[in-house]
């Protein structure tokens, strides 16, 4: 009964997540169209386009991964499809990282080459209007919706433990921060500070880059079967410690080794146990397995296997 409830809740959350992600894609496409019509210098437009296209990667990979990952295990994919999330996580982290690097290099070059941008005017109803204001409108309209979308995504990502969503949310943070920086840059240019735009962009680029490096690191470790980190990338998953204790506290267990890894939004792995006695071994193992899979919704599958000794490479102190 309780399990059914959590499952339904998860389904609802996933539906919400997919809706928010579609919203992001819609916004990005709208933004690409608006940029097309407002950016005067084609160079700036190209840069903004490339950024928007990169921001699309996390959203699209989430949509694809979430379609694949929910499929039940099949003949050829006997471990299931959860790892689709890992691939998406790796891809979107790389996209975020690339945005950071791209923005940093672009702004540094602007400073080094002493690129002095001139912003002209446009005539609206016979009134001469500085083009900077239109650029600020074109960039600024998106700050509030993007900020809210990012916040919502971050909240959902914490609940469903899907890191692509987390990276996607970081992408939105990068997006609205860049917008704020660009506005400061344009206002600065209007004050005759030709470097304002580049300096503001460098500060934001460093922030994006640090997010990108962090998640790229987490994604590669996940692909390499690292002991699970939680979806927020910094902290060790407390789950593993709890499972280790649970196993060790069984009175028939002499010694044990827990090897867990993250598989998409699930945690899976194996537990090697040395038993005190041969008696009831099968029942004991089955019971332990049940206990663990019921322990947390993230664990749907676990292999418990009795061993005489642990593999040599393991120093028992890990």
């Amino acid at each position: 009964m309780g399990e059914e409830k959590t499952e339904r809740k998860e389904l609802e959350l996933m539906k919400k997540a997919r809706f928010v992600v579609w919203l992001t894609i819609g916004y990005l496409i709208l933004d690409i169209i608006i940029l097309y019509f407002t950016m005067q210098s084609s160079q700036a437009m190209k840069a903004a386009w490339i950024e928007d296209l990169l921001y699309l990667i996390p959203s699209i990979s989430f949509l694809i991964a979430s379609k694949i990952a929910t499929k039940p295990a099949s003949k050829n994919f006997r471990f299931g499809y959860d790892r689709a999330y890992t691939i998406g996580f790796l891809l979107s982290s790389f996209a975020l990282f690339t945005i950071g690097v791209y923005l940093l290099i672009e702004s540094l070059l602007k400073l080094v080459n002493h690129e002095v941008v001139t912003i002209g005017t446009t005539s609206i109803f016979g009134e001469t209007i500085w083009f900077g204001w239109l650029m600020i409108l074109a960039i600024g309209y998106s700050i509030v919706p993007v900020f809210l979308i990012g916040k919502e995504k971050l909240k959902i990502s914490k609940k469903v433990n899907i890191q692509i969503l987390y990276v996607d949310a970081k992408g939105q943070k990068a997006d609205w921060l860049t917008s704020v920086a660009t506005i400061f840059g344009i206002v600065g240019i209007g004050f005759g500070l030709w470097w304002a735009d580049a300096v503001a962009a460098i500060v934001i680029a460093l922030d994006i880059l640090s997010d990108g490096v962090k998640s790229l690191k987490a994604a590669t470790s996940e692909a390499m079967d690292r002991t699970p980190l939680n979806a927020f990338l910094q902290k060790e998953e407390p789950l593993v410690k709890k499972i280790e204790e649970l196993v060790q506290n069984e009175d028939w267990v002499k010694d044990s080794l827990v090897r867990f890894r993250r598989s998409g939004n699930k945690v899976t792995g194996e537990i090697l146990v040395m038993s005190q006695t041969e008696e009831n071994l099968q029942e004991n193992i089955h019971e332990l397995k049940e206990k663990i899979t019921n322990f947390n919704w993230q664990i749907t599958e676990v292999v418990v296997s009795p061993v005489k000794e642990f593999p040599e490479i393991f120093d028992k102190k890990i």
């Binding site: 001139t118 900077g132 240019i189």
Partner: protein
């Protein structure tokens, strides 16, 4: 959490208010190197290269559509004009280094120089070409004032074109 959201909203509102104040400010945007303040009531250094009907150099006087426009602009800001004659390439190089204030030579929007100097919006489209005047890079105020002037003169420009393309010794195939 609610408090934090309020702070963000207030900050956003504050920025919007600041920006709208700034937009109604008279001397914003400003020049990067202060050219407009320097030429207002002073001397405009204008580079020209002959290119009829935009710039026509006769022995007595300079004439042409762009010459008339620049003369009009100089008058509107009480500035004298000092004319500099060189070939277009040299003029634009001087402009890039801000040794001149304007360059007129029948330039069009498609000039490859737009990455090195700044140009006005097109004040006239003629024979499929959008005509512009070149301004030093980074001088937003100067560009703003010139474009504002060109907008106001918009109605008079076809007349100028008629005048200069209709004169006897100059016959355009159009």
């Amino acid at each position: 959490m609610v408090q934090k959201r309020n702070t963000v909203a207030i900050l956003f509102l504050f920025i919007v208010i600041c920006l709208s104040c700034l937009s109604s400010c008279d001397n914003y945007p400003q020049d990067t190197y202060g050219t407009f303040e320097e030429v207002k009531g002073g001397t405009l250094l204008v580079g020209y290269a002959e290119n009829p009907p935009w710039v026509i150099a006769s022995e007595r006087e300079l004439a042409g559509i762009e010459v008339e426009l620049i003369k009009g602009f100089a008058k509107s800001i009480n500035a004298e004009i000092e004319w500099v004659n060189k070939n277009q390439h040299l003029l634009l190089e001087e402009l890039e280094h801000r040794n001149l204030h304007f360059v007129i030579s029948g330039l069009t929007k498609s000039t490859p120089w737009t990455s090195r100097v700044s140009v006005t919006g097109s004040f006239l489209e003629y024979q499929g070409q959008k005509h512009v005047i070149a301004v030093p890079p980074g001088e937003h105020r100067l560009l703003f004032e010139l474009e504002d002037f060109l907008n106001e003169e918009e109605g008079a420009i076809p007349e100028l074109l008629n005048h200069y393309t209709g004169i006897e010794w100059y016959n355009l195939e159009d």
